[in-house]
Amino acid sequence: MTGRQNLLYFLTLHRTGLAVTLMSAALLAFPFVEDNPYTLGLTNLIAINAIVVLGLNLFIGYTGQISLGHAAFFGLGAYGSAIATVTFELAPWPAMFLVAALVALIALAVGIPVLRLSGHYLAMATLGLNYVVHTVLLQWDEVTGGPSGFAGIPSLTVPGTVIDDAVGLHYLLWGFAMACLLLCLNLVRSGVGRGMAALAGDETAAAALGVDTRATKIKVFVLSAVLASLAGSLFAHCYAYVSPDTFGIFASTDFVIMVVVGGMGSIWGSVFGAAFLTLMPEWVEFFDTYKDFVHGGILVLVLMFLPQGLITGLTDTIRVRLALRRRDHAAA
């Protein structure tokens, strides 16, 4: 092989690793280029959303199930961390993982009965769970602070420093987001992940090939709930304040829109979808009045014309166009 071919081969072989390295490098350098706290605040929010969306996308894209309640797990993580660190005065890091374990148990309790059914019962069950969680957050005010929210959550610390400025949070949150991205990228290329992809393609065929479909669905559901809970804990420590409205059922549909826009089953798309939806209010002036139209419209248009998601859908379309043009040239 010539040198050029060798290089190309190397690039294709290691495309995922290289893309992750490039993105990490860009993220490491980002605070040096841009140190406006407002911009960093936005990108930090993207990182938090991306963690939730990565987990949700594994679940929707790879098991073909629908969860309309991930804001509940997100909220349980946030309030769990808040209550554990403020009321029970636990250290933030152990509290975060303790809360994630509890959320995993809740997801297990919801997932086991519902996921043994075929059909889309889970969509409504999770929506119901989200409603219950939201109501409890609002009503149980001696513990959660009720409608006025829960304030005074301590910042996270690493030995030596307290992470409370935008730059520190940037590294913390994107560190977590990149770790989750790597986890998901590796998971879907592992044996378990291939089983998940088979499950998404055809449940019966996957079961015939020896994939334990029910256990896989439950595992992925729990994993996605844990990721949402971790994101919630980070959210709570990052903003030092949480209120029930962030975790209502409409937040859940926003997460679903991020998944669909990024492309169901596309790991990189999850990050793109989270970024797109988080940044959109910045670009669209009339957003506040027409938020529903924009959100619903994007969801409907993407599903109608590019059901594989914005990025995969557009690249596929362009690829098909180019191939057709090449064929026409060859014929002429």
Binding site: I66, V114, Y121, A125, G296, G297, L299, L303, P307
Partner: protein, 286 residues
């Protein structure tokens, strides 16, 4: 003691009838298309909104206004199916269900834009003079709800057993492939199922909003409870939907009466999860 119980039972049956109507709407669409139709929740809101406009903008008397509101919701539902769902030409359930989620968000946006975000009050169908029945005082509106629910169920039964369109819808529900083979038009069946779902949701909205208040997202919670009722009775089964609705209404009102009313709304979802755990096919499911 006894009067309290009777009072709670009447309250439960009233809200149960509403849940039953909404649950029937979910079942109709689920039987013909195999999907959970999230727009059902907005049909409920839309019913109340059209009633409001018919009464106050057009100045119609109560009964014609009710008919007009239900018809308008049915029409809106048909439009949603025709321009919102059918062009997707997808048989991927995931895509279709997410489409209903998206359309539901848009529908809420439309409602917010047309009728505003404020809470509105809808007058009851007949003036609010409580009637004494066996020692419990019952609002006339509750009697309207129970009466019209029975009428709706009777009409629905007649439609599904006596008309050719209703029979073809049952054929699609029992076996879509066989129904397509004998030439039953899928498009018309889907359109009709949406119209019925819209009419049922709209009727529920018209009847319930004088008791609750009218607001752009009033249907969300009611719709979710309607779905829980449908699961409780056995998803897809019409008698199940009615039984599930009434059962859920009773459970809710008794638990609010004897336990705590702060978590009244939570009962429905706890029941939903318990049913899925213990008897996933529901009370009357196949």
């Amino acid at each position: 003691m006894y009067t309290d119980l009777l009072q709670y039972v009447f309250g439960g049956l009233t809200s149960g009838a509403i849940y039953a109507l909404i649950a029937l709407g979910f079942c109709v669409v689920s039987n013909t298309m195999g999907i959970v139709n999230f727009i059902q929740v907005d049909f409920v809101t839309l019913g109340g909104m059209f009633m409001f406009s018919a009464l106050f903008s057009l100045g119609l008397p109560t009964i014609p206004a009710l008919g007009l509101a239900v018809a308008m919701v049915a029409l809106a539902a048909m439009v949603v199916e025709r321009v919102g769902l059918r062009p997707a030409r997808s048989d991927n359930h995931l895509v279709l269900i997410f489409l209903t989620v998206g359309l539901s968000i848009i529908m809420r946006g439309v409602i917010k834009l047309v009728w505003g975000k404020n809470r509105m009050a809808l007058p009851p169908l007949t003036p609010d003079v409580p009637v004494q029945i066996l020692g419990a005082s019952v609002l006339p509106q509750a009697l309207w709800i129970l009466g019209l629910t029975i009428v709706a169920i009777a009409v629905l039964t007649w439609f599904f057993h006596r008309t050719s369109l209703g029979l073809s819808m049952r054929a699609v529900a029992s076996n879509p492939t066989a129904a397509a083979v004998v030439g039953i038009p899928a498009g018309r069946v889907r359109l009709t199922s949406y119209a019925i779902a819209g009419a049922l949701g709209g009727l529920a909205g018209v009847l319930v909003t004088p008791i609750t208040t009218l607001n752009y997202d009033v249907g969300v919670l009611l719709g979710l409870k309607g779905f829980a009722a449908a699961i409780l009775g056995g998803f897809g089964s019409f008698p199940g939907a009615i039984l599930g609705g009434l059962g859920l209404g009773l459970l809710e009102s008794l638990s609010a009466g004897y336990l705590s009313s702060a978590y009244k709304d939570v009962v429905a979802f706890v029941v939903l999860l318990l049913v899925l755990f213990v008897r996933p096919k529901g009370l009357l499911g196949k």
